[in-house]
Point group: D2
Chain length 135, copies 4
């Protein structure tokens, strides 16, 4: 857990992610952070697609992002993802987005996710899943 276990994922910026300011639109980093979270969970052997198939959902409850420098079309970016906190009903992920070439820090963020059942009721995260995510 924490910075001891960081998963990196790297991909090129898509043209559709740019806006008329000539930089990546700020909402796309939220999607990139989610993709970082997907890769983190797969790296821990528990893809979120599998979690959902077993009937557990992680709904985003809080989102915080700090924008330091912009990414642009033509760049590749690296998302670093780690688990900041794992509680009985909620987990918090931390993220850093870097320019893949220069390793310049572009964005930092956090998302808190609450576990729910398929009816949307907050529920307990099974211990085995929590242990695996935090391994």
């Amino acid at each position: 857990m924490g910075r001891d276990r960081v998963v990196e994922t790297t991909f090129p910026v898509r043209y559709a992610e740019s806006d008329q300011m000539g930089i990546v639109h700020h909402a796309n980093y939220v999607i990139w952070m989610e993709e970082g979270r997907s890769q983190y969970m797969r790296a821990q052997g528990m893809g979120y697609e599998q979690v959902e198939r077993e009937g557990l959902l992680f709904a985003v409850a809080e989102l915080n992002v700090r924008y330091i420098a912009p990414a642009r079309y033509g760049d590749s970016v690296t998302v670093r993802t780690w688990l900041e906190e794992a509680r009985s009903r909620a987990i918090t992920f931390g993220y850093e987005v870097f320019h893949a070439g220069s390793r310049a820090l572009l964005v930092t963020g956090q998302t808190k996710l609450v576990a729910t059942d398929q009816a949307g009721n907050v529920t307990r995260i099974p211990d085995a899943l929590r242990a695996r995510l935090a391994a």
Copy 2:
């Protein structure tokens, strides 16, 4: 059906819909056409949200778009939507996107949708629904 029954919906361009060319990114018109289709169906008294709740899905099978002139952030656009064809298992919608102010034509398009059940199998559109959509 056809141009006898056209539903218009008007909304402002969102900043996130622009790209670094300074115009609306071409994928957004696909989403606008879908929103036009949503408003068409609601105007016929059968919102697609209700169709899905009753277990029928309309999956997009074909998409054709012609781009004539660009929309920009600061503009409002009007989507005109009509039903071009209603067959037993598929319906085709036609669209025109206009600049709301000048009524300049920006985009024309078509989507063909195939009816499926929740398992994804092609299915027959109930006659009552087809009649209502084409009314």
Copy 3:
């Protein structure tokens, strides 16, 4: 400024904004908040499209969102937007997103925007613009 001057904008949820959880994907609220900000600025007589044409950019520096309850396709939502703070080089907007029908509170958020010139250098917000936004 503040809650004395709140601008509301209401629109239907688009199908493309849903995700496989059956609710609106959390990144879309960021785009809705930006649309709320666009409408706030237009209501103050200074559309952001005009600000950009005059060479000033507002780049998002901080984003905070709390998710309370989900919006769904078929709903309309209302974004309430106000100016929380106006400093010499940065402005902060506050937002609430409501279900338009029930007025249930769905999301609260904040964005801090930094003024830059077209080269991306932080710059001073002209007093006239700041006064107008805060009026």
Copy 4:
């Protein structure tokens, strides 16, 4: 040119690309095709970011997509991109999107792009660029 020169790019489906039908929303394939085009151009030694920096824009004029089978979150997809036609003022790309694991064909598409200058006027594609894209 044509099927003699095909560039493949593979990436995982993002959660945000799903919709409430439980499959990838159809507008995302348009963005994936554009990403395939970006990779095709980079593979030919002429990234579109560089084309734009030199003052030439390729604006999408026509888009045609056929949807055969859906991609889902948890899948990786492969976009195959080739140049179908290169004329003096327009180029047409062809695409196939496959499920990366099973190689099942999901989508086929085409986009026609028109060359413009920065004012949006249709212009001639420099011979050197056209030769490079078609090499």
